[in-house]
């Protein structure tokens, strides 16, 4: 008989106690997997949400306002232009995943409001812009497909202000060009809500700015260092670089804080599991004091007894860990629902990401717990002298 067989059969002796300890370890393993899975999933989902914001870096002509509010404050003036050849220069950087060129145009509309107002048009490339801002949803219609179409997509507030729906005409003041509304966007809470989107080439033609751009939206590859990319872009002549990286960094530092909390909870779970295991094994050692003495009298060396008890602990942890990891895979959807109901804000996508790699990592941790927790009870058992057990026989 192998030592692990003896150890396994010993555990069957007190089935309820072994079962409860297994359950304790399983719950700890479940908590561990779910916490790590949540940690990973939440970070990934948040990253995805940030990435869905579109471009992380905006390159504009030096001095050009890049926010609609600034443009309005300046009365629609002050726009600066770059040649569209800059697109080639930007794409030369290997860290750049994709770009979208834009031309901002603003014009005074005397019919806007009571005393007129500035209408802002954003020329966007139908081939790249919708893909870059995939989070934009429509209440009506869809994006224009033809780069030369005299069509417009209205932001939510722009549509309300202009009182336009799809199929309606929209006049560009002074230019006498009529655009056909083909889509109205849902509310985003960003400056996109007040923007009138027009195909880039159409706006370039209408405002006589062929070959000119006011901005380029840049999406950087995931693995690239955004700050480094920004520095490189600054080397381009007469441009300014506006970054969303800081926003992301702030969010990520918040995530790091949350991570620390998660690890603290995980540590507590580990400690509880360890105490449970130590308690169970130690109790069983005390109960079997005489028996351990007899095992030594039939030929077991102290190290043999140490191994026997240690293996019992490790079997407990392996079985409990396996059970808990199994739970976490089976019940991951329930965990996700629970987490979603508890958190005030949750990003889109899967919040709890449990992989086989995570399962293995947790198993390794639980095994580590077993190895450490078993040390003291095994040491105590190894020190039992046969004579002590025989003396107790007479007590």
């Amino acid at each position: 008989m192998k030592i692990y067989q003896v150890a396994y059969k010993n555990l069957l002796r007190k089935k309820v106690r072994t079962g409860l300890t297994l359950l304790g370890i399983a719950l700890s393993a479940w908590v561990l997997v779910s916490l790590f899975g949540f940690n990973r999933g939440y970070e990934r989902a948040l990253n995805r949400d940030i990435d869905n914001m579109g471009f992380q870096v905006l390159v504009t002509a030096k001095g050009c306002p890049y926010e609609a509010a600034t443009l309005m404050l300046k009365g629609g003036t002050g726009l600066r232009y770059m040649n569209d050849s800059i697109v080639v220069d930007v794409l030369k950087h290997p860290e750049v995943e994709k770009i979208t060129p834009m031309l901002m145009a603003a014009i005074f509309d005397p019919n806007k409001g009571e005393s007129g107002g500035i209408s802002a048009f954003l020329g966007v490339d139908p081939a790249t812009y919708p893909a870059m801002k995939s989070y934009l949803k429509f209440t009506q219609g869809a994006w224009f497909a033809d780069p030369d179409a005299t069509e417009a997509v209205l932001g939510y507030e722009a549509a309300e202000l202009e009182q336009r729906e799809i199929g309606d005409k929209l006049l560009i003041p002074e230019k006498n060009v009529e655009l056909r509304v083909v889509g109205v966007l849902s509310r985003t809470g960003t400056q996109d809500d007040g923007t009138i989107f027009v195909p880039l080439r159409t706006i370039q033609k209408v405002f006589e700015q062929e070959g000119k751009l006011t901005a380029i939206g840049i999406k950087v590859k995931k693995e690239a260092n955004i700050t480094l990319v920004e520095q490189k872009l600054y080397d381009l002549p007469d441009v300014q670089v506006v970054s969303l990286a800081q926003v992301k960094e702030t969010i990520m530092s918040l995530i790091s804080t949350a991570k620390m909390m998660v690890f603290s909870i995980a540590l507590i779970a580990i400690l509880i599991a360890m105490l449970g295991v130590v308690n169970t094994i130690l109790m069983s050692v005390f109960e079997r004091f005489q028996e351990i003495g007899i095992i030594k009298s039939i030929g077991a060396m102290p190290w043999d007894v140490f191994k026997l008890i240690w293996v019992e602990t490790i079997i407990l942890c392996l079985l409990g860990g396996g059970l808990g990891i199994g739970f976490s895979f089976i019940l991951s959807k329930i965990t996700e629902t629970l987490v979603r109901s508890l958190l005030p804000y949750t990003p889109t996508g899967s919040l709890v990401v449990i992989s086989s790699g995570l399962g293995l990592l947790t198993m390794a941790m639980v095994l580590g717990i077993g190895i450490i927790s078993g040390l003291y009870p095994a040491w105590r058992a190894a020190r039992v002298r046969p004579l002590e057990s025989i003396r107790r026989e007479g007590e």
Binding site: M1, K2, I3, V6, K9, N10, L12, R13, Q290, E291, I294, I295, K296, S297, I298, G299, A300, M301, P302, D304, R385, P386, L387, I390, E393, G394
Partner: protein, 246 residues
């Protein structure tokens, strides 16, 4: 260990327990010789020191002073203390033990309990089939039973089988019938006698039971840590069933 004529030679064995500042003598200079293949019983009232003596002879404990040789090999001499590991090494190559309680692992079958010593140590030459040992003890139909399904006498016979599986030179039995009724006690006594007569196994038996003690070829009576005058510390010249030791 290669047994010589003497299975066991003890000289001037004393054991003093210290309780606080008080020294309590348990054994007072005991000397005895046990021939290979002898069956010796140790009797005496409670507290006479018989269990203490057999624990020291069986290397379960160190003596305070004295010397011990097993099968011609010196185990310890004056005031020499052996480590737990050394004692274990000697125990597992020389002795088989049975006690008042049977200490069978309740989740192991009879056969698994018997071969349990092999999990930790298999003595060279311990090649007797465990099933054959069980058969010789009348347990061949109980091999797959759990201890909880056996009677007290059967459990003690399983404990004897476990003690025999590593082919010991000396079998130590400390009150082996203490938990059994008279009929079962007699059965166990007969098993020990048969092992001694048929197998030539050296048997040291501690008992309160006079009928059991009478089965032995020699009885040593202890009182107050000394061998009583009537008991012979040396065996008769012959009469022991000699067998080759492993």
């Amino acid at each position: 260990m290669n047994c010589q004529e003497w299975a066991l030679e003890a000289t001037g064995i004393t054991k003093i327990y210290r309780r606080g500042s008080e020294d309590i003598p348990a054994l007072d200079g005991i000397s005895l010789k046990i021939r290979r293949g002898e069956f010796v019983s140790f009797v005496g009232p409670s507290g006479s020191g018989k269990t203490t003596l057999i624990n020291i002879l069986g290397c379960l404990d160190n003596a305070t002073s004295g010397s011990l040789s097993l099968c011609g090999k010196t185990i310890f001499t004056e005031r020499q203390r052996l480590s737990e590991a050394d004692l274990t090494r000697i125990r597992r190559s020389v002795f088989g033990y049975i006690f008042q309680k049977f200490y069978l692992l309740p989740t192991l079958t009879v056969l698994e309990n018997v071969v349990l010593p092999f999990t930790f140590f298999k003595k060279a030459g311990a090649d007797k089939d465990p099933l054959e040992i069980l058969r010789s003890l009348g347990l061949d139909k109980r091999t797959n039973h759990l201890p909880g399904q056996l009677s007290g006498g059967e459990m003690q016979r399983v404990a004897i089988a476990r003690a025999l599986v590593n082919n010991p030179d000396i079998l130590l039995a400390d009150e082996p019938t203490g938990n059994l009724d008279s009929k079962r006690s007699q059965e166990i006594g007969e098993v020990l006698r048969r092992l001694n007569e048929n197998e030539g196994l050296t048997v040291l038996l501690v008992t309160h039971n006079p009928a059991l003690a009478r089965l032995a070829g020699r009885t040593i009576e202890l009182r107050d840590g000394r061998i009583q005058g009537g008991a012979s510390p040396e065996p008769p010249d012959s009469g022991a069933n000699l067998r080759e030791c492993s």
